[in-house]
Amino acid sequence: MRLTKIVALAAFALVSAAASAQTVKIGFITSYSGLNGNLGPYMERAVRLYIKQHQKELPPGVKIELIIRDDTGPNPDKARQLAQELVVRDKVDLLAGVIFTPNAMSMAPIATEAKVPFVIMNAGTSVITTRSPYIARVSFTLWQSSYPLGQWAAKKYKTAYTLVSDFGPGHDAETAFMQAFKEGGGNIVASVRVPLQNPDWAAYLQRVKDAKPDTLFVFIPAGKTATAVMKNFSELGLGQAGIKLIGPGDITTDEELPNMGDVALGVTTMFHYSAAGDRPANKAFVAAWKKEYGANETPNFLSAASWDGTAMIFEAIRQQKGKIDPDKTMAIFKSWKFANSPRGPISIDPETRDIVQNEYLREVRKVGGQLANVELETFAAAVKDPWKEQQKKK
Amino acid sequence: MAFALQTEKLCKSFGALTVAEQIDFRLEPGARHALIGPNGAGKTTFVNMLTGAIAPTSGKIFLNDQEVTRTSQAARVRLGLGRTFQITTLFRSLPVLDNVALAVAERRGDAQRMWRPASAHREIIDESLELLATLGLADDAAAAAQDLPYGKQRLVEVAIALGLRPKVLLLDEPAAGVPSADTEKILRHLEKLSAEIAILIIEHDMDLVFRFAQRITVLVQGQVLVEGPPEEIAADKRVRDVYLGEATHA
């Protein structure tokens, strides 16, 4: 019974794919289940919101079909299987989404082999884009924020202590920060890598306190872990001991701020997006988000990247009038520029297919009774991924 | 001469509590020997030391003149020491045939064969069936051990031990918890066992002990009180006092 149903469905899918060539199918993979399953909706909502607002800008007769899949967290074999099915069965024109680096890495060969353009909307390890000529990234790299932060910190502080989660992105952030900080003449007192599943931060932070650095650089996965660190930081009195907490924007994500409470005040971060960003495009984005999903909801950097990624895909559809050719699409992606992103002007680096964007120096402050990442200055404009720039020189 | 089983000054204490004290014990080849004693005399501890389930505090154990004091349980079995358990210890959900066949296969060294199906090992199965037949269990071979009446389960215990072709067989209360009619049956089967096997029986049922055993050792408070043929034991005053007396009073 069930089998025949599936067969029928499959047959139907084949036929319908042939009949409506003007439907652009986007295979969208993100995480809904698993411990980080809370992140998926931030991306999906942004994509849906963009489609809803801009559908009428598509060439007449062209429709977008979003096929959503759950990769259940950092689960590369599952992600690969889903990508394969999306390509083989659903015949998607584009792949998009992906929160976790290993998932993106395992999907890369499929994008290459099937020649399906693949828009990465989060996964931030630098090397990803080198793994397939069909990958373009609209999100960020960890080097992009940690390296400028190191440059900034070197001007202000003499000694720094680094504390990062012990996994790929943590290592990236640590290396980038340390390199820039040292180049600027700073001194790294000590570097500690903490297991990902770490329930208690007091011991690590006590050690930091005893080492008395000018500043503590922290990178940990966005979310409640960051909250725990903030609370411990304040409880142990590191702030009073004159230690400044800094890090890439992941440690003070916009949606987590209310949970952190006042302990987060004064934390300085470098990042490419803040929901509190004072740009018209961003204000419109946030307003649209709240209108669609409720006043208590706030978009975050995943949302911004997904929004921009969808904008890029729309551009490719418009230019090709709904007929997606992989190589032409990639060419369009490579020359894509977007002045009105919620995060300011962005573009894709034609050489590396990676994002080029501004990095903002922010501080957590109270705005109208609520905590927000207030952008102090545009520390660096149009930053390319520093890691790739260095690789080129070598 | 070589004894089937022999202990020398065997002692066991748990902390301050001494449960076996200087036990010198000899089991002759082909003997029908009984070990009796009141509750808490240390019989089970003694048996457990013989089989290797627990290690003695001091003293030595010999199996056919070979010292086995520190030898593992499994190795003692391979040297010819078989046992039954006071509390029935069977593979309850397995068929009776399998209960015996596992032991037979183990003895033959076939238990690690991984390729030919067990049910194709006719030699193991035939031997097991034969064994079951001698104990009157031929008709029950296919039944699950747990579905058998208790008396028959006790016989399966014996069958498993016999499957090991032991030179020495320790029967730990083979008739415990069995209705008296079945005790008779068990006794009849025990009497038929090959004369080459030395049997040490630990039993509470005095009737059974005196009919079966040719020699009796009385254990009291971890010590050998007296040893001798049944008539002597029955006549011994000390035994009457500590043991038979107590039994009748109770």
Partner: protein, 332 residues
């Protein structure tokens, strides 16, 4: 069941999984990558069933072997540049077996909760090692760049997953064949004996501990091969092959299907993975609820898993049928 009283002929129902797999290949060519995934997990579940279902070893760390196999196959390609699939498989099997002997020899003297904990700690340590040794394993980014040559120099791993599916199917068939022989052999009967009554096995002179180490190693080897298959079909290894989660998942799959019944290892992963695939697509956010409820229900009402339930129903039906026919006979 297995043992000396068993009928070891292959029943017609036992061919059903293979017929189904064949039908799957031809009828659902677009689902082959899911299919291959299922086949791999069946092999993994089968290896777990051997120790859990037959020998009674409770483990929450079977992913140690699966993961080690996966990484070994990958590293053989990335570090030694050996892309021959059979060499990768053999290397994975060997390394997993080695770990099986080494850890088995240490931990198999313990039982129950202690054993559970030790197995878990071992896979957790391996996970930590894989995470830290970035130069070797790629750390949290995963090990990419794994290359696998065409099988026998001819069958390329294609995008549709045809080769992968058939490759895994053959591997599973061989694995099934080995396990089936194993459990029906005297060795298998002996394992059942250990599970049923360890004291008794000691008393009949079986070196229980060494036997457990042996079967643990065999199982580890199989799990390692399953892991290697995952690497080869994905050309990628992620940290998710190690640790508590995959161990728990495979345990749940096996229990769902039915422990200690050869085909429980087949049914479980099929139901679990298809349900995951289906539910996760329909209600991605709440699929836990479904699988959790199912698990509680199985534990409470169907301890034998799905297959156990099928058996029960069949027995009931058979006895009803017998009653009826005997009633009819006596009526005459």
């Amino acid at each position: 069941m297995s043992g000396y009283s068993a009928d070891t002929r292959i029943r017609w129902t036992e061919w059903l999984p293979w017929v189904a797999a064949g039908a799957f290949f031809f009828l659902l060519p677009e689902y082959l990558s899911l299919g291959a995934r299922i086949l791999i997990f069946i092999l993994f579940a089968l290896s777990l069933d051997l120790i859990l279902g037959y020998a009674g070893i409770i483990t929450l760390g079977h992913s140690a072997f699966f993961g080690l196999g996966a990484y070994t196959a990958g590293i053989v390609s990335t570090q030694l540049a050996i892309n021959e699939p059979f060499v990768q498989l053999a290397a994975a099997a060997a390394v997993a077996a080695l770990l099986g002997v080494a850890t088995g020899a240490v931990i198999l003297r313990t039982r129950a909760l202690t054993l559970l904990m030790l197995t878990l700690a071992i896979t957790a340590i391996l996970l930590e090692v894989a995470n830290k040794a970035t130069w070797l394993t790629g750390g949290a980014d995963g090990l990419s760049g794994v290359k696998v040559d065409p099988i026998l120099g001819f069958f390329r791993f294609d995008l549709y997953g045809r080769t992968a599916f058939l490759y895994c199917l053959i591997a599973l068939f061989l694995g099934w064949w080995v396990v089936r022989r194993l459990i029906y052999s005297p060795f298998g009967a002996m394992l059942t004996g250990i599970r049923e009554n360890t004291t008794r096995m000691h008393a009949i002179g079986a070196p229980v501990y060494w036997r457990l180490v042996l079967v643990y190693t065999i199982s580890a080897t199989m799990a390692g091969i399953a892991g290697a298959l995952l690497t080869q079909t994905n050309q990628f290894v992620g940290l998710n092959v190690l640790g508590l989660e995959p161990s728990g998942d495979i345990l749940v799959m096996l229990i769902l299907g039915g422990v200690g019944r050869l085909y429980g290892a087949f049914i479980g992963p099929v139901v679990y993975l298809i349900a995951q695939d289906y539910l996760a697509k329909q209600y991605p956010e709440y699929w836990y609820f479904g699988i959790g409820t199912l698990l509680i229900a199985v534990v409470l009402f169907a301890p034998g898993g799905i297959l156990g339930m099928v058996d029960k129903l069949r027995d009931k039906w058979l006895s009803l049928y017998k009653q009826k026919s005997s009633a009819r006979a006596s009526a005459r």
